[in-house]
């Protein structure tokens, strides 16, 4: 069996599983946020739920509407606080205590080999350290609150092997954009994606999170990377011990294996209005921008902020461009402060926002007017994703976004 099949077999108390089989898995952890958890709480009560299955395995995070921007958002938060009190939920990240749900999960909760579901499509991020993690809707979150179990179809697995050295200034974001451009938006629907190869070994856990985060943009159920020394170090830094890592068997099978050469990946950008509309930055470098965003569950981590700060150091953002820097968590925010990155951003003329989903959630802060253009490190560029349906969003790496903010048009990082 491959790593995905082995995790699902373990979680469903089976000796083995095969792609296409329907299994019922025991869920290690379930996460929901302030726009998916309220519906889950409502459904939990309508199901007749009195007590959650395990108050220590439920993680609730406020991140899309933080701090509350209107009375209705505040009511959603109030509803969740009440549920947390009633059910004595152990892990609740209120305003000022957390950040973007996926970052919080990776900093505090995810362990290799676990089965984790979340009321958010980018839950697939956690495969970066070898867990099976996937997004579900609110009613299924409620059913997990109640039973701790969920059905899955064991996915076919595509093994994406990446070899070759990534050339500066290309980053993991450029690799995943390139791959999505090749697969297209539905190229991996229902499937598991395993990333492997020499290049992956060189990529940090932060970068691996960016890869796994975006597999849902080609329809995949989950993305996963076999745990290694970097994983062990990541766990150690967070005070976790390393379990016996689950990896592929020697005779592991895949639905198919595809190969990419990282040395050929140049800085890429996903153009409006689909994530698979991917072009090299060099082909769109005349596009003028109004806003640049660095943040989100895709690229709001310390490594991303370091890269951006390197580009902003002793420079000023182009007049007429507004820059939003959104650290993905309170921890990332603090680390960035301690390293002096925030000072660099402020001196460059960027606005530092509190950890939250920011404009990527299209209903909170940093929104766009009709015809405005934004370049962003986030994950979706759909019509209306960041405000007005006529605004245009380009997705790119932190280095490309920072460089573009300096020149005022989409630019290859220097």
């Amino acid at each position: 069996m491959n790593i995905i099949e082995k995790i699902l077999a373990k979680a469903s108390d089976r000796r083995d599983v095969n792609p296409g089989e329907i299994i019922e898995a025991n869920i290690d952890k379930v996460m929901a946020n302030d726009i998916t958890a309220p519906l889950a709480v409502k459904a939990f009560k309508e199901m007749g739920g009195k007590k959650v299955w395990d108050k220590e395995r439920i993680i609730l995070v406020l991140d899309h509407l933080v701090p509350a921007n209107r009375d209705r958002s505040a009511e959603l938060h109030m509803l969740l606080r009440k549920f947390v009190r009633e059910q004595k939920i152990k892990h609740f990240y209120d305003v000022g205590r957390g950040g973007v749900c996926h970052q919080i999960m990776m900093e505090n909760h995810v362990k290799p080999g676990e089965v984790i579901v979340g009321g958010d499509s980018h839950t697939c991020t956690y495969g970066a350290i070898g867990s099976f993690a996937t997004g579900i809707g609110s009613t299924e979150v409620a059913s997990v609150f109640l039973t701790g179990k969920l059905w899955f179809k064991v996915p076919k697995t595509i093994n994406i092997v990446i070899e070759g050295k990534l050339k500066q200034p290309s980053a993991p974001k450029d690799i995943i954009l390139y791959i999505i451009g090749q697969f297209r938006a539905d190229g991996a629907t229902y499937m598991g994606i395993k990333f492997s190869g020499e290049t992956i070994k060189d990529i940090s856990v932060d970068g691996r999170m960016t890869l796994c985060n975006m597999v849902v943009e080609m329809g995949a159920k989950n993305g996963i990377i076999e745990p290694d020394d970097k994983t062990a170090l990541y766990l150690k830094e967070r005070g976790f011990t390393s379990p016996n890592f689950i990896k592929d068997d020697v005779d592991a099978k895949y639905y198919k294996t595809v190969y990419y050469d990282a040395s050929e990946v140049e800085p890429m950008v996903a153009c409006p209005f689909t994530v698979d509309n991917v072009k090299p930055v060099s082909e769109v470098d005349k596009v003028e921008i109004d806003q640049a965003v660095i943040g989100s569950c895709t690229n709001g981590r310390l490594e991303d902020l370091r890269l951006a700060a390197q580009i902003f150091r002793n420079k000023r953002v182009k007049e007429g461009v507004r820059v939003l820097i959104i650290p993905a968590s309170q921890k990332v925010y603090m680390d960035a402060m301690n390293e002096g990155l925030l000072e660099t951003f402020i001196k460059a003329g960027a606005l530092i926002c509190n950890p939250c989903c920011g404009p990527c959630y299209g209903g909170h802060l940093g929104l766009l007017a009709a015809e405005e253009v934004c370049i962003s490190t986030t994950n979706r560029n759909f019509v209306g994703r960041m405000g007005h349906p006529k605004a245009k969003i380009y997705l790119a790496s932190p280095a490309t976004v920072a460089s573009s903010a300096l020149t005022g048009r989409i630019s290859v990082p220097r």
Binding site: I22, I35, T36, P38, L39, K42, A43, E46, M47, G48, H64, L65, R70, R72, S73, L76, G119, D120, S121, T123, G135, I136, G137, S138, T139, E140, A142, S143, L146, A185, D186, T189, Y190, V216, G219, K221, T274, Y361, G362, G363, R380, F382, V383, G384, R385, P389
Partner: protein, 163 residues
């Protein structure tokens, strides 16, 4: 379960951000959500759905965010069933869980046009295009999902817990 109605057609990669834009996710009432269904894609949707209640779409319907508000908004706006070449997986599960029938049809969707009148049986996989007098057989919805699809996951679990 049998469904009859006229067809409202859409293309590929209809994402959940256009089905229900992010700014409306503060709403928790199904009827209120329904008022904004398809607002990011088709401002004529509400007028059309009065007459045409079966959505027929191409590839990857419901891609993007896991927001269950998307199938809820469509269901409460009056959509009775969605046929698509393929669905994004989270949307597919969400639709079944909120009791909105969905059927994966492959190339068959190309033979169904705007305004056609259909008869659909998700249990057998039979689709009749009454307007054009042709029949198609697609993969039926598996029995265990059909049970959930008929009543929605909330009621399904509530009833199961009682027995």
């Amino acid at each position: 379960m049998e469904i009859c109605g006229k067809v409202l057609k859409y293309g590929s990669d209809i994402n959940t951000d256009v089905i229900i834009p992010g700014q409306f996710l503060v709403l928790t009432n199904s009827e209120e959500l329904a008022k904004h269904a398809m607002e990011g894609l088709d401002l004529e949707f509400h007028k059309k759905v009065k007459e045409r209640k079966i959505i027929v779409a191409e590839k990857n319907f419901g891609c993007g965010s896991s927001r269950e508000q998307a199938p809820i908004a469509l269901k409460y706006a009056g959509v009775k069933c969605i046929l698509a070449h393929s669905f994004a997986r989270i949307f597919y599960r969400n639709a079944i869980n909120v009791g909105l029938p969905v059927l994966e049809c492959g190339e068959v969707v190309m033979k169904i046009l705007e305004g056609d009148e259909l008869y659909i049986n998700p249990k057998t996989g039979l689709i009749k295009n009454i307007s054009r007098d042709v029949e198609f057989n697609v993969n039926p919805v598996p029995d265990f999902l059909l049970e959930i699809m008929e009543v929605g996951l909330v009621k399904f679990i509530r009833e199961r817990r009682k027995s």
